[in-house]
Symmetry: C3
Subunit: 210 residues, 3 copies
């Protein structure tokens, strides 16, 4: 309980908040009603971690352990909607990319660490980290009636999470404290995604004239 | 086993039947083939409860406990399809709203009660009731290639289930018999949804000219 | 460990490989990038079995038990993509139907047998076999942004898996060795699907002018 669980707690909290914000921004751009805003923010924030917990058969879910996060998120959604409505704030299409990148990195790190803790093989842990990081955003896009960004945006997204997951696995194999692996892995995934957005990196694809 | 489990049994049976009917009506309007009709009826009837049982880690599933319901539903689907084909019965777009409202109320109540029985915090129980009530209909709409009604219909839907769930939680906190809470909560959710449809209530949204 | 588990191992391996191929073919036709190709191949190969294992509460997942399959599939995806890109190989729309039919048959048989092994009632086992067989393909189509073939293709698909499942259940009830039921059930499902494709069988539907 002492040492890294608190690291993981902080990182999961940050990841949940970051994804909730990206969901809020996206829902406000789509002009969803107040129920839609809450649903999108919830699915984005809790979707990836819930799928990870189902796949690893971990109970209670992290949002049952932290049941007050649910109420806090509900208040956040309604309050931001009222605020945005009053202040006439508008978001550009790219505004949600930055909280999204933060959530991607943090969830990739914590998902991988949790899978390692229950003795999953390295490749499975890397997959779990990637799933945790990516699935919330996939749900957000599906519910907003977009094709999931992960599949059509040719800039690396899942790949950044996958790379960050391997950093966590490497740190674990080297016997470093779990907190170090979490921070390093999260930072690598986030930085790669930010660079990918900034420099316009592209994933290898078929030739255009193929 | 005595007392309220039988209440819950009756309520789950009613909810499953009501959602199966709404799925049947929707599938017949979309002119799906016999396989499609069965798939849509099954997903609508069993989808919400299955997600609830996965999230709460309850096994066996309620449709494994009542395996004969599956066969009964299969017979019901094929029989109604033959009947509808012969009698040239057509449904209007709004015909499925009424069984849908009944299923919504009953599943909201039973899902909340089941979550309370396994000692979930109140906010989690309310969420479970809402998920149980809403998810079957979401699957029905996704499979029929519609955008889920819950997200675009601006009349309250999930909100009614959420309100009904809190009635169940309140009755539980007051120490009333579980049957009372179930019936009251289900009735409140159903009535709210019926009033919302009838009076055209709307969920707060962004301003049109925002 | 002696006798039929090895049968099941062979059959699950064949089914996974067949569905991975169908996913690869479909992803290459859609010109997805390398991440998309891997995601589609993974979801198609592992989706049905994972849903089955979640529903039956079986852990570890079959892809955690065989974690090297994941790495092998990753290598296969990247290698085939490079090969296809170099050799300018193109697939017709119908190319994926044949590995798809093989995967359908094999997963229907193994899914049913696994459900019988954990004492599910016959109708639930038949449903589990069908879900295992069908769900990977549904995920493939959803991710490739198609309407799932199972729901719009009026040729029998899920029905073939359902028929194969009942052959496995019948063989089990007759007390035959599990290997016999698996091979028979898989062969029946595969043959029915191949005949359906070849002879253009159709599922009963509404009348056109209805």
């Amino acid at each position: 309980m002492d040492g890294w669980p608190s690291w993981r707690g902080v990182i999961e909290f940050g990841a949940t908040l970051a994804f909730a914000l990206s969901g809020l921004i996206e829902a406000s751009r789509k002009k969803l009603d107040v129920v839609g805003v809450c649903v999108v923010a919830f699915l984005t924030a809790f979707g990836g971690g819930t799928l990870r917990d189902v796949l690893l058969d971990r109970r209670p879910f992290f949002w049952v352990e932290h049941a007050h996060w649910i109420s806090a998120l509900l208040v956040l959604c309604v309050a931001s909607m009222l605020l945005l409505r009053t202040r006439h704030i508008h978001f550009t299409a790219r505004a949600m990319q930055w909280p999204d990148a933060v959530g991607l990195g943090l969830f990739a790190a914590s998902g991988t660490q949790i899978a390692l803790d229950v003795q999953m093989p390295a490749i499975v842990a890397a997959l779990m980290g990637t799933v945790t990081a990516v699935f919330g955003g996939v749900l957000r896009d599906v519910v907003c009636n977009d094709i999931p960004r992960t599949f059509i945006d040719h800039r690396p997204y899942a790949v950044c999470a996958f790379a960050g997951a391997w950093v966590v696995i490497g740190a674990d194999a080297l016997g470093l404290a779990a907190g170090v692996g979490l921070v390093l892995g999260g930072a690598v995934a986030m930085t790669l995604r930010a660079l990918a957005l900034w420099l316009g990196w592209r994933v290898p694809a078929w030739r255009q004239q193929d």
